[in-house]
Subunit: 641 residues, 2 copies
């Protein structure tokens, strides 16, 4: 087995069978990426692809066995991940249908909804929408304005869009195909509002005609993803039976009284938003996959493309041999591997915490379960960092291919345009990172409180965070760091300690500033005080995710059974760690954790690693196991000729 | 006069009349940006727009008065700059026709070419191509493979594409409209190659039929700019009269002998490449304009869009009031202003050095004229930094508008896709920055040599560079810097000294490493030695351009006659300087030019400036004077309702 094969086997991981199935399917003509289709044709093709996925049994896996599924959420997310290598319109339409719409019915509905709908949803016979976002309220879901008012006389809910600002916006499957929508609206019964709940609202009849009380408009042309029929929805008093409330976390009885298993409004709200976790994890995985494709296209091109002749040589230089080109592509490649391993862990966590078994047992579903909170935080952080990484890296890859990268036929244009929205949908990245930072603060606060002030002072506040969040024991870290200021850059413990230290210190500094902000809150400007630390919230969250990524990379090396593959991964991990520290070296310098001399050596160390990894680039790209059809583009075909 | 009006008058500058004309034209229905046109319709509309520009007299200004022009190159570039606010396909097609094609005939041709062609070119009656780039050779123009072999028997040149790799690629105006092309090819006469020269080669007859010996293919769909008909050209022994050699810098006599006014091959080659300078400056200007539009769209949206309610408040918070949002949009706005002023200076330099008067007098045309070299270096540097700034900023603007930013109708999608290629055409940015750094080294080397070693040691090598390149006297800079380590961040001299110091030190360090590389060259691996400093070349060039930008900003403030406008500019300049220093603070920390404490204060200073500038955002955007039709998008219209 070649190193590339060993690497691929390791990367393929637990759900390698599903990966193989999607790879085989990807070679079919129907799934070959095609650029420049007119919207109508693109949508039709995407729908055909979706049905074909369902026929191949790839869309049911995550659902309960009782409804034709396999109860294997991890397999389902892995299949979705693989779709990230093809036309991303199919990925997104699949995500809307099976992940968001199907997921909402599964997670927020109860048995009667499951019995009635899940099998048809999983097989793609009943297409639907996830109508959460409103024009005026995207990130602020609690502020949604659509109302669902219970009418006791008819035992129905009346769904209303009170203002144009409250129209449901950018809703996938809405413009053409959705027959029903899960609509998030403020539940009102007996004049009393009970917060946001989800309702099954029919949009179209069997013949496809829009149902009275519903208005639908097409969102029109988008930057990308034009195979997805996004639309806008208005409800003018549409009436639905009481049963159409997805009532796992809130029931309305015939007499109009409201019941809930989660009394705390906020807790209930966030529990219901849990549907979004799976969506975020899916988008993160798809981003990593699209990034792999872009890097493979640009990397293979650069391995063959020549430009300029070196003095004293006859042959033109292969572009990939230029340091500037290595600097463009190799650190992002290293980070992509880090994200792959972190994403793998995340999918396993999701599978355990929110998979069919956990759901069936009612275990770990309530919003304040610590494993669920950890999953939620990690999903938010990795989603934000993976999608930004995709945006940045695909851009770099486009530029690295020059004019060829700009031609639609070479795929980079579509990859870029399609993934662009990932940074702001399924949770805006800026908002998500703030959630991550706030969760880190909460965890830190709990530890401090648990220890008591005296103990905190005695043991040092520094240690407390990591026992809560991390698996690396870092009790002696500051001392080790100091002692190791002269160690080699490839010392893994030093790399880990550096990223751990950064996260830890940032959380402490943030806690300190937030305490000052609390003081300011008492004096009358709480919003201003929190606003003033926003940039620190973001950098703290980034530091946390970087640390998570390095830990995942290290675990990925440790579990690799092939020695040669592990060795290659280890060098790539060095590049990830050092380029990350290099990018943040100002922070370390400011805190005396890097000397000026050592900081200046970092660039050289990164350059050296680029040189070391350059000969292994082909294997590191082959290991992604991208279906050949997804890489069958003119700029690579020509070079082979 | 409001501050916004005073600012606009100042920004409009020397060629404000042309700006007003283009603004008026932009309100015509024909020029309104339209997204999602099919390629055929988009190309037809772009051609119509181009002809309409010519009818309005906006395309002739840069040409000689004898051929219907006004000999006003600056006016011509300014008009082009304004087109950067509209559909960029028109901009690029205009640039190809009048700048590249027309510019090549004007600069590389002689009077008979001018008499025969320039008037028709300037009026858009004769459409043509600039056929330089080959599939296998983009950046490496000297390596072009197309041949133009003189056939003495027929007094013709025979144009050949020897391999498919030598086909002319991504050539604007080639797929549909070009009747003739300026083809860059290796001139061979009597079996002797004389390097790359330019030839006028007919492509299509009057009826539009492709001429025998020429093959043309369509480049197909691109990421953007689909209103431009890019194509590929092959020449299978196409024959052209000897007169069709654009022979300003190289003539072939009837007997086949070759003559040139510039004996040195390299010098002649670079002189002929001078046509590219104007193209680079034009692209830089267009990038700045497109960035202004994106910032205005995102800024106005964020001034009205609300999200989340602050604790203790009834009203939702305006998105622009979030620090994280200010951090996204305001530092890029400051840099856009800096680029505007630097671009203004560049256009004036171009106008003086390569304008009609200079060309007519034969002055400053030869490649080694120092003013021309400075122009070339500055054009390369600003083009690279302005186009990357556009790519980054438009991306940030898209994300800042969330889903609305992703809808094609709101323009950001097209601005992003259209400007994307700017970073790699008209000179790949990475290659251009290396040219800049090499030129800085050459200037440094000359100064060192001029002074002699003893003097260098006596006066300090440090001072030498700046007398050559800069207008700010910095002889006492290191001392001042040291003395001022405690000065306020808004001390302009300190800001200037910081950026000057960075550039200076980087050049020195580079010179030192290059000397070591020369040593390595002697030992047998010159290419490897130069390759090893590539990252340093790039960062040195960036440091140079940042310094140029700050100097231009400072000059722009000094020349502003309105006190309120100047005050606003001054704060914006602070933001530009401090956010630039903040981004590079690791470098300053490593060299002891920022203390850790002071470095950590920078973030707060930048945040404070964001808060100070927030209320002025509206005026700072209005001052760009963007035609209302270019901002007439749904996401802004709705909010007004």
């Amino acid at each position: 087995m070649s190193t590339a094969q060993a690497l691929q086997r390791h990367l393929d991981g637990r759900w390698s069978g599903v990966r193989a199935t999607v790879r085989a399917l990807s070679e079919r003509e129907l799934f070959r990426p095609e650029s420049g289709l007119p919207t109508v044709a693109h949508r039709a093709r995407t729908l055909l692809q979706l049905r074909s996925l369902a026929d191949a049994g790839l869309t049911q896996m995550g659902f309960d066995e009782r409804y034709g599924g396999q109860g294997d959420l991890g397999a389902s997310i892995t299949a979705f991940d693989m779709l990230g290598m093809g036309d991303l319109s199919l990925l997104v339409k699949t995500g809307v249908q099976f992940g968001l719409f199907g997921g909402a019915v599964a997670h927020l509905g109860t048995e009667r909804h499951h019995r009635e709908y899940l099998s048809d949803i999983a097989n793609g016979r009943l297409l639907g929408c996830f109508a959460m976002t409103e024009h005026g309220h995207g990130s602020d879901v609690a502020g949604l304005q659509t109302t669902a008012t219970f009418d006791r006389a008819t035992d129905e809910f009346v769904i209303c869009t009170p203002t144009d600002d409250a129209r449901k916006d950018y809703i996938g499957n809405a413009a053409d195909d959705g027959r029903v929508a899960v609509v998030f609206a403020q539940l009102i019964t007996g004049g009393i509002p009970h917060g946001v709940h989800a309702f099954l609202v029919p949009l179209r009849d069997e013949a496809g005609a829009v149902i009275p009380g519903v208005r639908i408009a097409d969102s029109g042309l988008k930057a990308g993803l034009n195979g997805v029929d996004n639309g806008q929805l208005w409800f003018d008093g549409a009436r639905i039976p009481r049963d159409n409330l997805l009532d796992r976390y809130g029931q309305v009885l015939a007499n109009g009284s409201y019941r809930t298993p989660i009394e705390d409004d906020t807790k209930r709200f966030f529990t219901m938003l849990g549907t979004l976790i799976q969506g975020r994890i899916s988008v993160a995985g798809a981003s990593v996959s699209a990034t792999k494709v872009a890097l493979t296209l640009a990397g293979r091109y650069a391995q063959r493309r020549t430009q300029f002749t070196a003095p004293g040589h006859d042959q033109e230089i292969v572009v990939m041999d230029y340091l500037s080109h290595q600097r463009k592509l190799l650190p992002p490649l290293a980070r992509t591997y880090a994200l792959h391993f972190a994403q793998g862990e995340l999918v396993e966590m999701l599978h355990e915490v929110l998979g069919a078994r956990a759901l069936a047992s009612g275990d770990a579903v309530i919003g304040d379960d610590p494993r669920r909170r950890q999953l939620e935080t990690r999903a938010a952080g990795i989603k934000a960092m993976a999608t930004w990484h995709a945006t940045n890296t695909i851009q770099v890859c486009r530029e690295a291919c020059g004019g060829a990268g700009y031609l639609a036929s070479n795929r980079l244009a579509d990859l870029k345009a399609d993934t662009d929205v990932f940074t702001t949908f399924e949770g805006d990245n800026t908002v998500l990172l703030q959630l991550v930072a706030k969760e880190l603060l909460t965890a830190y606060g709990k530890r401090i409180k648990g220890l008591g002030l005296a103990a905190t002072v005695r043991f040092g506040a520094r240690q407390t965070l990591h026992t809560a969040l991390d698996r690396t024991p870092l009790r002696d870290m500051p001392a080790r760091l100091a002692a190791r200021s002269a160690t080699a850059f490839d010392d893994r413990d030093w790399q880990l300690a550096m990223l751990a230290f950064r996260e830890q210190r940032q959380v402490e500094a943030l806690a300190w500033r937030m305490r000052r902000a609390d003081g300011a809150a008492a004096t009358g400007d709480p919003a201003g005080a929190v606003n003033a630390v926003q940039d620190q919230l973001l950098s703290t969250a980034r530091a946390h995710v970087d640390h998570v990524l390095l830990q995942a990379f290290v675990a990925g090396i440790a579990s690799c059974p092939d020695a040669a593959a592990a060795a290659a991964l280890s060098q790539l991990c060095d590049l990830f760690a050092l380029s990350t520290i290099e990018a943040d070296r100002a922070w370390y310098l400011e805190r005396g954790r890097l000397s000026a001399a050592r900081s200046r050596q970092l660039a050289g160390a990164v350059n050296d690693l680029c040189g070391v990894l350059r000969p292994q680039l082909g294997e590191l790209l082959d290991a992604f196991g991208i279906p050949p059809a997804m890489l069958d583009v003119p700029m690579l075909r020509e070079q082979e000729g």
